[in-house]
Amino acid sequence: QTSLSLGSLNADPDAPVEVTAESLSVDQASGAAVFEGEVLIVQGEMRIAAATVEVIYDDASGEISRLEAVGGVTFVTPTEAAESNAAVYDIASGMLTLTGEVLLTQSGTALSAQSMVVDLNAGTARLEGGVRTVFEPQGQSAR
């Protein structure tokens, strides 16, 4: 399980979070709120897109503890782009965990791994699980 740390990820974990989607359904028995249909989470310059995103929030304080994105997740910042099957964004602590066939492209080089943990506060990302680097001939990005 090799891991690779990367610097210079710029994200602002305290910026307002905007989530847009086609629909939001709330199951009032459990209080679960799920965004569906081209869900896009925007915070500062960071964008996370997914098929569905569930909002896990604390009823009393109304604070969102985390956003669980599932289905073709893409994580884009001005300098990096990553894809995975699922992601959990823990807003309170500013940690974003991408899991399932993670493919990270950063200035021409592509890295694939099982999971990637991004610490938005420190701006670092750590790839874990079978990290493989895929070099692209100059000029083509991995995606």
Partner: protein
């Protein structure tokens, strides 16, 4: 005639003059110092005619429950039948409450005006509708249809919503208590704005 010199005749002569004077004084007090007539308001004939002409109920309230067990209650300031369509009524300042079955949320909604269709048991709220749910959702929209028979709500205009986890906008809202404790669906484009770190949802 010696009437002048005996006392009794003099007394009678005097009384003949004094007594009518006293009577006059008493009579005048009746008019001069009597209280002004109490403010007897004129009888509002116009209103009475209006009431007579138009059948209407003031402060109606009715309640019932849906097949799925949701409890429904509606009240209004005034309810009046629409002249052209017999089973449709216009309501003034309607307020409705729907409590979804088996412990589901309670919806309270109100609007400046609305219409009730007795056959389809639908209450259409018009104007600025305000809807509050017992699990922390507050919504404002321009129109809402409450199906009192089924305990289902549909809003087809743009909604501003304050959800427990932030400020929401949506194009359409459906609240349904038929299966289970209730499902709230916002659609036609939903946008959530959440500010981390702020206590509670952004005021």
């Amino acid at each position: 005639m010696h009437a002048r010199d005996n006392a009794y005749s003099r007394f009678v002569g005097l009384a003949k003059v004094l007594l009518p004077l006293v009577g006059l004084v008493l009579l005048s007090t009746l008019f001069l110092i009597a209280r002004s007539p109490s403010s007897v308001t004129g009888i509002p004939f116009a209103e009475i005619e209006e009431i007579a002409r138009e059948q209407r109920v003031s402060a109606p309230r009715f309640a019932g429950s849906t097949p799925s067990g949701a409890a429904v209650a509606v009240e209004a300031a005034r309810l009046a039948p629409q002249p052209d369509t017999p089973e449709r009524y216009t309501v003034e300042a309607p307020r409705a409450e729907i409590e979804m079955p088996d412990g589901g949320p309670r919806y309270e909604m109100q609007a400046p005006s609305g219409e009730i269709d007795a056959t389809t048991r639908r209450l259409e709220l018009q104007g600025l509708v305000r809807l509050v749910t017992s699990d922390g959702y507050e919504m404002e929209t321009a129109g809402l249809t409450a199906d009192l028979g089924e305990g289902r709500l549909v809003a087809t205009q743009r909604l501003e919503i304050r959800a427990p986890f932030g400020a929401l906008e949506a194009g359409r809202m459906e609240a349904d208590g038929t299966e289970g404790a209730g499902r709230l669906l916002f659609s036609d484009g939903v946008r959530l704005l959440y500010r981390p770190g702020e206590e509670g949802e952004p005021r």
